[in-house]
Symmetry: D2
C-alpha cells in the first residue's frame, strides 16, 4: 500500500500516519519528493484498510498494491486449475464446448437442442429453467419443471447440465438437478447468491457482470471461493459500452488478462455478447484463438419460435461449421476438444446428481 | 412496433409477416421504399413480442415504439406522484433531505449522525444495517442489531428510517423495522428482490443500476409496481463511465428525463455518485437545481473511523452549508424543504412499523 | 513516481532500476513488502518518463504521482483565473451567459438569435461558421461569409463573438474576426489545431472531448498554454456513455473537479450535452448550481428551419425563463450575472478584432 | 425514415408532416396504433433530413432506416474490396501482416524493426514520423527526417510504408514518401484531415475513433471516399470503456460487423488495443480468427529504450511465434498470409512514391 500526501501536508500529518501504521503492526517508509511525500506501507493490508488512511489529514491518495482477492489469485496458485463438471473437464489443454437452448421450453425442444449440441461437439448441456428478464411481462422460465426436463435430457444424451440460479433460496433445488450452477450477469454482485452457490457443493459458472471490471469479477469469484468452493469457471459475456451495433461488446482481452490474474478457467459466451446469430461463429473462433478454455453457445431447433433470445441462437444449418471450428482451432493452441462422455460412462454421475426423491 | 425489412427480402417474406401479425390479432401496414420495405404494426405489443418477428426471414430490424413499462409510465398517469414515508412526503412541491451514516456502526455514532442530519434539515434518516460489499473481507453491516439501533434512533429523533435490503428473504425482517426499503445499485436487476419488496407493503427507494439505462431502471420499478406497490422513489446515484476522477459519473440529466417518462419521484445521491466529500455539496446543489424531489446524503460524526465509505461522508463543519443549500435553492424552483416531523407527531407511525415482538 | 515490482522480481532487477534512476539524476527509495517491493522516485518526472521504466525487467506497474500538466495546474497557481473576452470577464465571482445560434445561417437569423441571447442576459454571442459534421452530406457552415455575418451582428449588438475553428490553417482567418476561438469536442486531441490556437493571441473556449478524461482535457489545455496562451476557458459538453436517452451524458461533477485541478474557468454547454430542448433549462440550472463560471446555450428564432441541431435550441418562449435562471441562481453562490457591454463601450474592442482589409 | 408521433399529436400535426413530405417530393404512409401514429417516408432521405422533421409539432422520434453512408456501404457494392498498397493486397482471401516500430527513432532501430517485421511475415512496414501525443512534453516524432528513414528502409527491405499524418497540411509531404497514409484514432473526426487524405491519391488506413460507433467510423470513411478515394482500409484499435486492465477494449466484433456493413477491408491493431506486450499474440490470434483482413503490430528491437509505447511492442523472442500464428491460422479461414514483395519487384513502385526532388 502506498500513501501519496497532498502538497500542503505537514510533517505532523506524515508523523501521524507513521505512528498509526506502527500501532497496527506495520512499517512505514517515507520518501520526500520535490512537491510531495510518499509513504510506502509494509505489513498486513487488511489491517491497514481498517485504519481508513484515506481519511487522515494531508492524504491525497491511497494506492493499493497487492490484489484484493486471495483464493482465486494466481499469485498464490501459479498453476492453472481444471474444473470437473459431471466428469467433464474445463481447463488447460482442453477446449470445452457447452451448448443448448437459452431457455428450456418443452421436452422436445430441449432434446432436439441437446442433440444439435452434441453433434456440434458439446460435452456439456446448457439450458435455463429460471430466467432473469428485464421485463416483468416476459417469459420467466419453467422453474422446477424445466429442471426436470433437463434431467431427462441428460439421462437421454449423457450430457451433464449447466443451468442458472437467480435467487439464493433456489440454490438447493437447482443444485439437486444440475451438474453446474450458473450465476448470471445481472447477479454478478448479488452477494447473498454468490455465498449460497459457494456453499452448494457444485461447480459454478460465474458470468462477468456487464459493467464489472475484471477485478470486480474476480472479487465475485472470491465470494464463492471464500465459502469453500474453488470449482469456479469464469465466463466473459460482453460488457456494456457506447457501441450499439452489438448487444454488448465482447471483451476478448479478458481471457488472457483473467487467466494471468487467476488460476480459474475462463470461457466465453459469444451468443449473449453479440446478441446476433451472424456473430456467433466469428466470436467463437476469436474466443478459442484468444485462449479460452471453453465456449458456451445458444442453439435452438426452431429459433423463430424461441421464447427467449431466439435471434442469437445457432440453427441446424450452423452445426457443421461450429463442429469444424471447435475441432480445428484448438490444436493450433495445444488444446483438444473435450469429448462428450458416453451415456453409459455418465450413468454413475447422473445418478448422484439426481434429486433425492 | 415497426419492422424494417432487409434489402433482399422478398414479397413472400413480407406476406408471411403480414399473415402472422393478422393471426395474432394485429394489423400490419406495409410501406415500400426505394431500397427497403417497412411494416408498421398496430395491436397488442406484448403479443407481437412473443412472435419473435426479429427471427423471421427477411427482417433486418424490429423497432419498439411504445414504452415497455406501463404502471410507472407517465403516459398513463400524467400527474406526478408523491410518496409518503412514515408521514414525510417526497414529490412535487417538496425537496426532501434524507441523511445519515452510510453504515450503522454503533448506537452513539448513529444517534450523532442522525442529529447532524436533522440539524442539516433532513426529515428522513438513512443508514445501512446490511451492506453489499465488493470484497468478502470487508465489513458487511451489523444486520438485525443495526436495524434495532435505527429503530432506537428513530424513537429518539422522530426521523423515519430508510435502510437497504440485499436479499429477498430478509425483506420481511427489514420491513418490520424500516419505514422505507432501499434497493441498492448492485441489485438493480435482482428480480427476486424487486418482487419481494414489491410485496412488502412499504415504500421503496430504488437506486439506479450503475450500468442501467433509464429505461432499464424504469423496468426495475415496473417489477416492484407489478406486485401492487407504487410507492416507489427513483434514486440516481451515478453511472459507470470511462472517467476515473470520480467513483461514478452523476447523470444529472436523469432527473428531468425520468420525471418526464415516469410519474414517480426522483432523488439524487451525491455521496455515492462522486465518492468524494468535496463533491457532495456542489452535486447536492446541482441535484436540487435540476429539479430533484430529494437528496440522500452520507453524514458521519467521525469519518476517519468510518467502517464504510468514510471519505465521502459530510462532517460536522459541513452541516451549516448543507442546511443553507437545502433551504435556499428549492424556493427558486417552487419547492420547499420538507420539514422533519416532531418526535411526538411521529409516535403513532413509529409504533406501527416496530416489529411485532 | 512509484514503481511496483512484480512478485518474481529479483534483487538484480531492483538494483538495475535504482542505478538507472541515479544515472538520470534522481533518487530511489526501496521499500520491501511481504510479497512485493516498491520503489519511490524523487527527482525530475519528465526525465524519468523517458527512461521507460515500465519496460524494465521485474516491473509490474509504474504509478505517476505528480500531475502531468504544469501551466494549467492549480498546484502552481492556486488562485483561480479570470479570462477576458472582448472586455467581458469569465471567472470567479461572475456567471457569464454565452448564447446564440448553433450555426450561422443568414444575417437575419443570426441577428434575431443575438437579440434573443441579449434578452436572456448573454454578454457573449456564440455562432458557428465552420461546422464539424459527422456526415459529409450535411451542411458544413457558411465559412468566411458566416464570420462576416457574426462581425456585423457584433457591431449591431455589442456582443463579442465566440466561434469555432476546425482546421489549424483557418486559425488566422477565424481569429481575424472572432473575439474567442472555440475548439470543438471532435478536435479535443487535434494537437496541430491546439498549438495553432495557442499561438493566435485570442482567448480559447476548449470543449472537452466526448471521450476525454478530465486529465486528458487538461492536457489538451496544456498544449494551448505551452504556446504562450493561458486565456483558456474549459467547456464541459457531455461525455459518451451507454445511456441513450440523451445525446451525451453531462458530467456535471467535472465542474468542481476541474476547478480544483486547474485555475482555468469552467463553463457548461447544456444544449449539446442533452441534445434536447426540454433539458436545456434544467441542465443550465444544474450547471450554475454546481459552480460553473458560465453557460453556453443554443438559441434559434425558428428552430424548425435550423440547418444544424434545431431540436436542442431554446426558442423565443424560453427566453424569459432563461433570463430568470441566470439572474436568480448565481447570487446563491456568491456570483453575479456578467452584464453585457453597451455597443458603445464595445466599439474600441470590435475595431481591433476586425479583419485588416 | 420512420416518424413516431407523440401520444398527444393531433390530426393536424400528422397532416402537416404528410404535406411537407409531399412538397419535398416524397410519399408518406400513415399507420394509426392504439396510442400512437407512425408515418413511414419513402423518397430521398437526404432531402428529408433537411426538413428538420424532428422539430415539428407532435413528433416524438424520427428513426432513420437507410444507412447514412453510401460509397463505403456494402448495400451498393456487395462484393468485398481489395486495397493494394505498393503492390501488396489487403482484402478477402489474404491475411496481411503490417509491422514495424510505433515511432521511427533512428535508421538502425527502424531497419532492425523492419527486419523483425519481415521475419515475422510482414509484407508492409508501419512506423510513425509524426506522433500525436497526449502530452505536449512527450516525443512528437522526427517529422520529415523520419519519413526519409522510412524511405531508406523501404529501399533496403522492399516493404512498402504505412505512416501516420496528423495535419491536413502535411498530407502532401507525407504522401510524397508513404505508400499508405494512416489516420489515427484522435483524428477520427478531424474532417479537414479526412478530406485531405481523400484527395491525396494514396490508400488510407483509417483507425476507428476510440469513442466512435461503427456507424461513425464508416461515416469518417465516407468523408475520404467522397473525395474520390475508395482505397480505404478500416482499422479497429480498441474503444474506450470502463475497464482499466487494458488501455482500451478491443472490439473484436467490429470485424464481422464492419465487413457486413461495408465492402472495405478491416484490420486490427492488437498492440494499441491492449497496450500490453503480453496481450499482443492472443489478440492477434483472435483478430485473425474473427476474420480480419490483416493485423498491424508494433515490434521494436529494444523496447526498453523506445521513446513511444515501448511496453506494448513485440520483441525479438516473440517473432517466431508471431510468424507461426500468421501462417497457421489464416488457412483455417480460407486465407493465406500475404507474401512480402521481393526488393526487386518493389523497385518500380518505390521509385514512384519517392518524393520528387
Amino acid at each position: 500500500m502506498v500513501i501519496v500526501m497532498a502538497p500542503e501536508a505537514t510533517q505532523d500529518d506524515v508523523d501521524a500516519i507513521v505512528e498509526l501504521v506502527g500501532t497496527a503492526g506495520g512499517e512505514a517508509f517515507v520518501s520526500r519528493g520535490v512537491s510531495r511525500t510518499i509513504i510506502g506501507l509494509v505489513g498486513d493490508i487488511e489491517q491497514f484498510s481498517s485504519l481508513n488512511l484515506g481519511g487522515m489529514r494531508g492524504v491525497a491518495d491511497v494506492m493499493r498494491v497487492s490484489t484484493p482477492y486471495k483464493l482465486v489469485s494466481r499469485d498464490n496458485h501459479p498453476e492453472r486449475s481444471t474444473v470437473w463438471v459431471g466428469g467433464v473437464p474445463i481447463g488447460p489443454g482442453y477446449m470445452t464446448l457447452i451448448a443448448g437452448p437459452c431457455a428450456v421450453e418443452t421436452p422436445e425442444q430441449t432434446l432436439k437442442a441437446a442433440r444439435m449440441a452434441k453433434a456440434a461437439g458439446a460435452s456439456l448441456l446448457r439450458g435455463g429453467a429460471f430466467k432473469p428478464r428485464t421485463s416483468p411481462y416476459a417469459f420467466q422460465g419453467l422453474g422446477e419443471q424445466g429442471l426436470q426436463i433437463l434431467a431427462e435430457v441428460r439421462a437421454e444424451t449423457g450430457l451433464p447440465v449447466v443451468t442458472e440460479v437467480v435467487d439464493a433460496h433456489d440454490v438447493e433445488l437447482v443444485a439437486s438437478y444440475a451438474d453446474m450452477l450458473q450465476v448470471g450477469t445481472r447477479n454478478a454482485q448479488n452477494f447473498a447468491l454468490l455465498q449460497a452457490v459457494g456453499a452448494a457443493g457444485k461447480p459454478v459458472l460465474l458470468k462477468r457482470g456487464m459493467s464489472s471490471t475484471i477485478e470486480e469479477w474476480l472479487m465475485a469469484a472470491e465470494y464463492i471461493a471464500q465459502r469453500g468452493n474453488l470449482d469456479i469457471v469464469l465466463c466473459e459475456r460482453g460488457i456494456r459500452t457506447f457501441e450499439k451495433a452489438t448487444r454488448n461488446t465482447l471483451d476478448v482481452s479478458a481471457v488472457p488478462v483473467a487467466q494471468r490474474l487467476s488460476h480459474l478457467p475462463v470461457v466465453i459466451d459469444p451468443s449473449h455478447s453479440g446478441g446476433r446469430r451472424d456473430l456467433v461463429l466469428p466470436l467463437t473462433r476469436a474466443a478459442i484463438a484468444a485462449g479460452a478454455d471453453g465456449v458456451i453457445v445458444d442453439v435452438h431447433p426452431n429459433p423463430e419460435q424461441a421464447l427467449v433470445d431466439g435471434p442469437q441462437a445457432l440453427v441446424e444449418e450452423d452445426v457443421a461449421e461450429l463442429a469444424r471450428v471447435v475441432r480445428e482451432f484448438p490444436p493450433l493452441l495445444g488444446r483438444t476438444l473435450t469429448p462428450a462422455l458416453e451415456a453409459a460412462e455418465r450413468a454413475g454421475e447422473a445418478a448422484e446428481s439426481a434429486p433425492v426423491a
